[in-house]
């Protein structure tokens, strides 16, 4: 298991290559990268606050749940904090398993839980000012599928 909480940018391709390197024990590797999106064309940047200490514990707990539920050879989570420009990678998950069903399901589970059970808060600065991103009901509802 690899859990990285960092302000520094990362290269998703490089991380994925490192995660996959030398693995003869798996048949499937799935990855997801979340990127700062400017849907309305007015975003200046995004800022992510987190709760140092709890963040790492919460993510490790989520990965441990995924590993107990699906047959995973390995899992990786990177999540950034601080000021992020439009188009920058925010976070990434990767899972490695013998079969793709486990790898896809575990990656999907990790994403759902990281959204609403890891202590991160997003704040957007647009040309009109700053505002905290509100949690969506559908993100909370997504947890019930697991």
């Amino acid at each position: 298991m690899t859990v990285l909480v960092q302000s520094a940018p990362f290269d998703a391709g490089e991380v994925l290559n490192g995660f996959a390197h030398g693995r003869g024990d798996v048949g499937a590797i799935v990855s997801f990268t979340g990127v700062v999106r400017d849907t309305k064309g007015d975003l200046r940047h995004m800022e992510i606050e987190h709760y140092p200490g709890m963040t790492e514990r919460a993510i490790e707990g989520i990965v441990t749940r995924a590993k107990s539920r699906w047959s995973l050879a390995d899992a990786l989570v990177i999540h950034r904090f601080g000021v992020l420009p439009v188009g920058a990678p925010i976070m990434m998950v990767a899972t490695a398993a013998s079969h793709r069903a486990d790898a896809f399901a575990a990656a999907d589970f990790l994403m759902d839980y990281l959204k609403s059970r890891a202590p991160f808060w997003k704040k957007e600065t647009t040309i009109d000012g700053t505002s905290w991103v509100a949690a969506k009901d559908e993100d909370e509802a997504a947890l019930t599928r697991w």
Binding site: M54, M91, F120, A134, A135, D139
Partner: protein
């Protein structure tokens, strides 16, 4: 105990953390104590259904007891991912 605030709760109260001397039995009692202090606390805690609480870095709820707890954190619903 150490009381921490994050995101708009931190902004509304005006500080990231503070040491609080309290005999509050539960999280809800602590919220009532803090809210009685000053308007900025009352404003931040006006609607606790919009807030989450963690006790010693584990998500908990407002009815939870505070006995033995060293760190309490208040924050809005999380928006990771």
């Amino acid at each position: 105990m150490n009381v921490m605030y994050f995101a708009w709760v931190r902004e509304r109260i005006g500080l990231p953390q503070e040491e609080v001397e309290t005999r509050a039995a539960t999280v809800a009692d602590l919220v009532a104590e803090l809210s009685a202090r000053e308007d900025r606390y009352a404003a931040a805690f006006a609607d606790t259904s919009a807030l989450r609480v963690a006790l010693d870095q584990e998500l908990s709820d407002f009815s939870a007891p505070l006995a033995g707890v060293r760190e309490v954190a208040f924050f809005p619903p999380m928006t990771g991912g």
